[in-house]
Symmetry: C3
Subunit: 351 residues, 3 copies
């Protein structure tokens, strides 16, 4: 993707000082800028790089006044940092949605509806009766089962697996090798000590704007027409396990390697750290914060708590006990000392 400096300035509502018809094709830090790169200068600590950089253009605050000669064109904006961030977004978006068309070979089943503007990478598989929305990007080696729905503008990276009947919303991102809709882990013990699988016949719903990390697994619900549900705007990192019949509330964010056991409902706007474990059949209230490696084994009633430790306590209580544990060897010494004094004290009385 190539733009002229003028085009970039227009996008940012900025003004060019210097040549405006040069082409730029990438973003770069100012200290690493080379010809064709566009960079920015916000923190004046880095001002000296402006006078040496080979970047073709540098975004600066309107108020900035150079003190020496420099070679790049300047793009003057109200806030250079915000403008550059905006540029990153536009660039990322353009990259993400640039691919269209179908690469051969692919396998598309019977009675499949496909919206306009989609990208269907080589070796992608779409099962019968599935419906794919507009501008969906299906990377190579994606597997979509039967009767699946994928909303508009959703991106499925290479190796994503979506089992039959799952519903994926609009503007979702699923990273490579994520697995949506595998069987929940349910087995009934038999008289001979073996286990018999409890049929897992439900599906998974991801609402809109959901993000799923690489190698994360979300199991289907047990009963037919029941769903494991990830609500609008929830963001899940890599290698997370979400068991059957779980529900995760709107705008809840969960860091990598956390596991959520069956039938647990997590509220809205929660922030859950990495490697957290949450037991089954619990309810986690809205706005709960759970620190990394914690273990949630019971229900908490109030919203907005900070939980920590395994088994988790309220943060302040947990920190107190953590300090207590560190001081334990010293506490034992103090008790020993007390015992000694008391023994000496009581000895004469008994003798």
């Amino acid at each position: 993707m190539e733009f002229t400096i003028a085009q970039v300035a227009q996008l940012l509502g900025g003004e060019v000082k210097g040549p405006s018809d040069l082409k730029v094709n990438r973003l770069s830090k100012i200290e690493e800028g080379t010809e064709g790169a566009i960079s920015f200068l916000s923190n004046l600590k880095y001002e000296h790089f402006l006078y040496t950089t080979s970047a073709s253009a540098v975004i600066v605050d309107r108020t900035f006044e150079p003190k020496k000669a420099y070679s790049p064109s300047l793009i003057l904006v109200d806030n250079a940092y915000t403008a550059f961030t905006r540029l990153l977004e536009v660039y990322h978006n353009a990259l993400t949605f640039r691919k269209t068309g179908t690469e051969e070979p692919v396998r598309v089943g019977k009675d499949v509806e496909i919206g306009e503007g989609i990208y269907l990478g080589a070796f992608a598989y779409i099962g019968d009766h599935s419906r794919i929305g507009k501008n969906v990007k299906i990377y190579p080696h994606v597997y979509i089962g039967e009767n699946v729905v994928i909303g508009d503008n959703t991106i499925l990276y290479s190796g994503v697996r979506i089992y039959d009947n799952c519903k994926i919303g609009a503007s979702c991102t699923l990273h490579a090798n994520a697995v949506i809709g595998a069987d929940g882990f349910g087995f009934a013990p038999q008289a001979d000590g073996s286990y018999k699988g409890i049929p897992q016949l439900g599906y998974v719903v991801l609402e809109d704007n959901v993000s799923i990390g690489a190698n994360t697994t979300i199991d289907c619900a047990t009963m037919p027409e029941d769903a494991t549900i990830i609500r609008n705007g929830a963001k899940l990192d890599n290698l997370i396990q979400v068991a059957h019949n779980v529900e995760i509330g709107r705008n809840t964010v969960i860091a990598a390697q956390t596991g959520i056991s069956g039938s647990t409902k997590i509220g809205e706007q929660c922030m859950i750290g990495g490697q957290v474990g949450i037991a089954g059949h619990l309810h986690v209230p809205n706005k709960t914060i759970i620190t990394a490696q914690s273990g949630i084994s019971k229900n908490w009633e109030r919203e907005g708590l900070v939980l920590r430790g395994s088994p988790a306590m309220e943060n302040r209580e947990n920190l107190r006990t953590e300090v207590g544990v560190r001081r334990l060897p010293e506490l034992e010494k103090r008790v020993k000392e007390l015992e000694k004094i008391l023994k000496e004290l009581t000895l004469p009385a008994n003798s």
Copy 2:
């Protein structure tokens, strides 16, 4: 799949009251039943739904006596709940094994034996000299290396990877993106501080009726002709790590994200929670129960123990120490109080 109500009744050993030639094609909760659905009524708390549901058929206990008019056909059975569960199983089984035939393109190597009734999904890969049993279901994008054996009625979901020489038993289920037979993690330190890989030349054996969750990894044994072994009926959830030379006993069930280090032998009929870690070269006795997030770092001799905590203790002992830890801040106060009293007590004597 469509059946008449009469066919369903016959399968369940039940009796139809009402029209029996209507077609049903799905299972549904009674409160959500629509035309073509079959549902059940077991708990009389939900009886009122019978009088409003649009389900085509409802399974009820023989002893049930309706109090109002209703529209569905009834299927009378000894136990409505058990019958519905049986129906779920049959339905699940029919769904699971419904696919047969080969979808193009696939790649099948030289000297491969394939049993009858198999499904070979598009983009599946089978390496040279492998033997695939009857009714095996190989979903799209499965990779099977060379000289692999897959037993009858086993299901490999999309993206399963099976390295060379592994032996998978009959009636196993491997969920999407599970990896069987990758190299064990073994490296020999060299004089210059680098590590040299210790060749991992063994394989993996899954005996019959083993279930492996999505994105779970089971490493091969180190020595040629040696195997990492998962015994008959063991059930492993998602995202589990099983290292080289591990053995997991019959009918042991393991929840998600647990990791088992190299050469550890786990007994039969164990129940291991999620996010458990088990150190290497240990032996876990039969019927051991390990609670979630525990860490097993030593051998335990007795069968049937409940282990908890990291490092794990027997459950009762661990719970006592957990309570102790919670009371630590209070205990410190009590010791402080004792010190104060004792100081006051001893002061006059010393003065």
Copy 3:
């Protein structure tokens, strides 16, 4: 692969006693040796197997003197164990690099450079502008994005996913379903409670001799032209999470299911156990040892520390507190006893 006994002896610098033109085609334990197998005898505890084995050849120490009749040819070497290990390496190497050529169908993009001696398995995908070195082994279903570089002699097992712009060094091994370069987990909270993705535009660098386990995920850096970096000789086990902008030093080894949060820098020659969590923006010094399931939540200054527990302490301190925790119920009793004695002691004085 088949060799004569004479060829094997030559490779090992050994001498054959008995027929040397027999063919051997596999390695085996002496107790399981059958015709065509080559085995070794090092520990004399197993000497009796020599007199019964059907292996075609057995490697023994030059100093070994048989006490009975035996059937295999002997290969006399200075150290039978070392020689057998060497044989395992050669065998493993030969196995690993035996495949060459392209299996159809594959998809190779525009402007792709491919070195000689590579293996390109069926259904492999290489994006535009990527450069693949010599002797690279790309197994079936591998996805390589655009503008990726893969160094010589690197092996990508089935289902590996490499996002655009990543650089993989020479002699690296990436196991099945590893994901390199997915988006880092970065979201900016919005006024309405939702989160907006922070564009992740960087890439991942694996230097030479890096090993990545099955289903491990390594996220790309946030800024364009920035990288998450795994240095030369680092070895990562299965199911590990490495977040954006992390750097892992030379020859550091990390066991399965460990997670490293964003922007953390890990030194050289560290040994990190399984299921460890390391918080973001930290620096872990060279030669740090972290025991399994630990949680690192702050910076440690000194090199070579052993860290343990969550939150981690120095090993000795942690072990002291672990012992203290186990003795807590007893300590509480002792304090109670002290309180009782003191109460009795002070009562008369107050009465």
